[in-house]
Symmetry: C2
Subunit: 590 residues, 2 copies
Amino acid sequence: MAQLRIALAQTNPTVGDLSANADRLISWTREAAGRGAHLVVFTEMFLTGYPVEDLVLRTSFVEASIRTLDEVARRLADEGLGELPVVVGYVDRANLAPRVGQPKGAPLDAAALLHRGEVVTRTAKHHLPNYGVFDEYRYFVRGDRLPIFRLHGVDVAIAVCEDLWQEGGPVAVVGQAGAGLLISPNASPYEKEKDDVRLELCARRAREAGCALVYVNQVGGQDELVFDGDSIVVDASGELVARAGQFQEELLIVDLDDLPVSDAEPGTYPYDAGDGSTITVERLVLSDEPVAPYPAQQATIAPRLDTHAEVYAALVLAVRDYVAKNGFDSVILGLSGGIDSALTATIASDAIGPSRVHVVLMPSRYSSDHSLTDAQELVRRQGVHSRVVPIAEIVNAYEKEIELSGLAAENLQARVRGMLLMGLSNQHGHLVLTTGNKSELATGYSTLYGDSAGGFAPIKDVPKTMVWELAKWRNANTLPGFLLDAERPIPENSITKEPSAELRPDQRDTDSLPPYEVLDRLLDDYVEKDMGSQELIAAGHDPDLVARVIRLVDLAEYKRRQYPPGPKITPKNFGRDRRLPITNRWRETT
Amino acid sequence: MAQLRIALAQTNPTVGDLSANADRLISWTREAAGRGAHLVVFTEMFLTGYPVEDLVLRTSFVEASIRTLDEVARRLADEGLGELPVVVGYVDRANLAPRVGQPKGAPLDAAALLHRGEVVTRTAKHHLPNYGVFDEYRYFVRGDRLPIFRLHGVDVAIAVCEDLWQEGGPVAVVGQAGAGLLISPNASPYEKEKDDVRLELCARRAREAGCALVYVNQVGGQDELVFDGDSIVVDASGELVARAGQFQEELLIVDLDDLPVSDAEPGTYPYDAGDGSTITVERLVLSDEPVAPYPAQQATIAPRLDTHAEVYAALVLAVRDYVAKNGFDSVILGLSGGIDSALTATIASDAIGPSRVHVVLMPSRYSSDHSLTDAQELVRRQGVHSRVVPIAEIVNAYEKEIELSGLAAENLQARVRGMLLMGLSNQHGHLVLTTGNKSELATGYSTLYGDSAGGFAPIKDVPKTMVWELAKWRNANTLPGFLLDAERPIPENSITKEPSAELRPDQRDTDSLPPYEVLDRLLDDYVEKDMGSQELIAAGHDPDLVARVIRLVDLAEYKRRQYPPGPKITPKNFGRDRRLPITNRWRETT
């Protein structure tokens, strides 16, 4: 039996910033070396960031990725880190002959082993996910090689991300070929309450592979996705050995004892992958001699956040990274006194600090007194920058030129507010945050080019009932790393008052929508669970409401397409993974 | 040798309108029967329309498709058309056990043979395209059955769309198994100058299959796609026998002589498909007896449109169908006096008639005299509805509340115009057409929520140089079906004057952009041909301009995502098939 100390580099790469990601690889490897690690494992496509979307179809981008990998291998050696093996994800190319329908240049979602200044071996993802947020048949061709390298006597196999999630393929081959450790670089986005699925999966695959498993996951926000880290180590029986924190960068060090020592012959061996394909195992040896016995460190098993803390932390990280990775210094949003904009402002203050948050109070002829006072109370509690811009005169100027009534007049007010925010954004360089929640967005209860105008939509995937829950949670809790230091940052009145868009006298959300408790349950069944109208009625939803809400949701598709990006916290959303034709005459209810 | 009269139903289905599509199948089959056809072939997924996107992930939608197929088979028999075999595309289900990453319910891009009130046999697309505008790994699982049915002694095989485009698979199996005729239902979108590729492909596959080939294509606009029809029949040597017109519905009748008579044994036979999979051929017999010899009709070979006519016809059809299929009666757009809005108005008048086109002239303090007079001249020539709404007072009202300068002030003017159009749209129910061209859109030379606000963008895929060409073409030409009857509908001055956004004094497009002849060539090489910066420079583009334009194009990604849908006329566009991460630090030029 042998020991190994593994460093899991749970990092936050920036898509496309190859040189910064390479620098980060060097510095984290240095830290791992300082902490006595025998192997460092980075995440899937760490050098390029993930997901890169159509960038990967550019030949020059793929070349830059391959070149950066070679350079970073040499730099590690030049900086005295060449003896410490590093596994890192990047984009490679399969060099297939071009054909119709194959991604240009046949890119691979690859991982490489770096050692002594060289790229020792390479592999690539075999199973290409193409569901939900994943689009990998568009971008990649499948890998068919599985490296197993001997490190201090222990055979270590590499399988990338999705290869853990599917039956057959690399994990099945590891089980047949035999290895002492399976490591897996990942870029697995956060989903509300996904954690246990992930641990269960790691445990199952460890037992299937017959060896310990090291699962290293990306952390950070990237456009619509937020990666939660939550890296995991399980032993060969599937028992949890170590776990990194959520939503934070971390170099997790774990000592594995009792790893089997191998004397398998180096060489290449074909295996039936059990999915209709053949995978070639490449066995190679870095070092045969086990490390001298050493006292193992106690492994960290980070405590899990509860659901509200987890979701809120995801939103904060998503905003922080979107602002930073897009080169903004500050954000601006409209503050109405209602709960949605109050929560959005608070998330922004926690993400980048209240001194970089600008709010605009834009009362109209229909605004109630408490709208202004509740908004002002939030400004006072949080210390964000604020200004008041009344919209009545601008609305009057439009109405002098064209006659508008009903919904058209309501929309105009929302649009004047949106254009004021965009004007201030263009003038001062703030990123505009929109404040719409998922319940509104789903049912189209928002104005195109009005409240939906902006650059990032922090709560677009948060149902209204959860908006209230998160506000209450935040008034009672904080987490390390939040940049807002305020007691009960959200005015109680914003949480408790009845929701209203205040676009006409005495308007209430319930004039147009069912109560949010009812609506959100129905939306969850229709959107997340994909129930049809008959199933929804059978599940106890009111038939008239089913018909009405489905119609609203399906007709709101066009508005949702023009909505700015925002973090996803549920398996399904209204973005890429619910895409209906705009010109569509089919109705779920007919 | 035997004869058959085939009816190619080149039709325009509406996505999701299953009952209307079914009605249309009945009426077209009746016409085919009246014209003596022995077989009618409809397009790919005709019963559901194509593409259906995430609708196909709804169980209830797939069930509705299967139910509609059964109903339409019975209705054909009930209405006395049961003896005429019909091949039609629809969505079926493979009934696979659910697994991670497989589309819910395992939908199939299917086609069926209907005869005597029954669904006689079913097949499904084997090769799933997942590039460019296609996303089929997300939606479908692959088919593995190839029916060959005997009709009046002739063995007829069915292969769906993409199965023609890939090596191996159904066509290769037809070649091995032997058939007298291969029919292929298609939904193949229009691309500028794609036609010859299509004919060449049909000819090659006919030779490979060793039999005549009937290629039936969808026609009509569906959101971002426009289908051009252009259905083709070639004989076993690949010679063109018949061809339908472009951009119009048509029942193309063709008499095929010299078809081989078969006595192959019915039954199921496995074949190696040459692509790593096995395809099961199902041979069945509808009728063994050849039809009595009859005098063949002269086949139609419709003349091809030239490039400008073809592109212009595509845009007209796209607008007409987007308006009709979304239930609008009328459109509205801003008319500036410039060429982009002039061309867009003309396309709209040709598509739905000038009496349903509303234009708004919105002069500002920076508008030149000719802007108003050129716009008024177009109104006079075309007879569209018009009104004048000056924007100065509204702009002043904003500027009283917030201070804006430079680009922020320019954007404000564009946004006021956009909001006026949206207000009139909401008030009167017109669809707002945007007027931006591809060169502007690519480089971000437009205002988010300003000139880009609207419901459909007719010329979003038309480079500026082609905007001028199309305007000149339209002033000299018309086509059957255009609803505008006007001599030289576009004022010459709009075509010849120098382009300007008129958002500040004496502004010219060339203040911000290179001359359009230079820009459009560079954009074509960068976007359509995917050249990297080194390749662009090697191809003779100015290095500074390459760096500048690439930066503009890559940074304009965010704006393009919020642009309304519009028809694609090139293989690559800035929509679904060029999707960069917004948070992306990689630059082609670094």
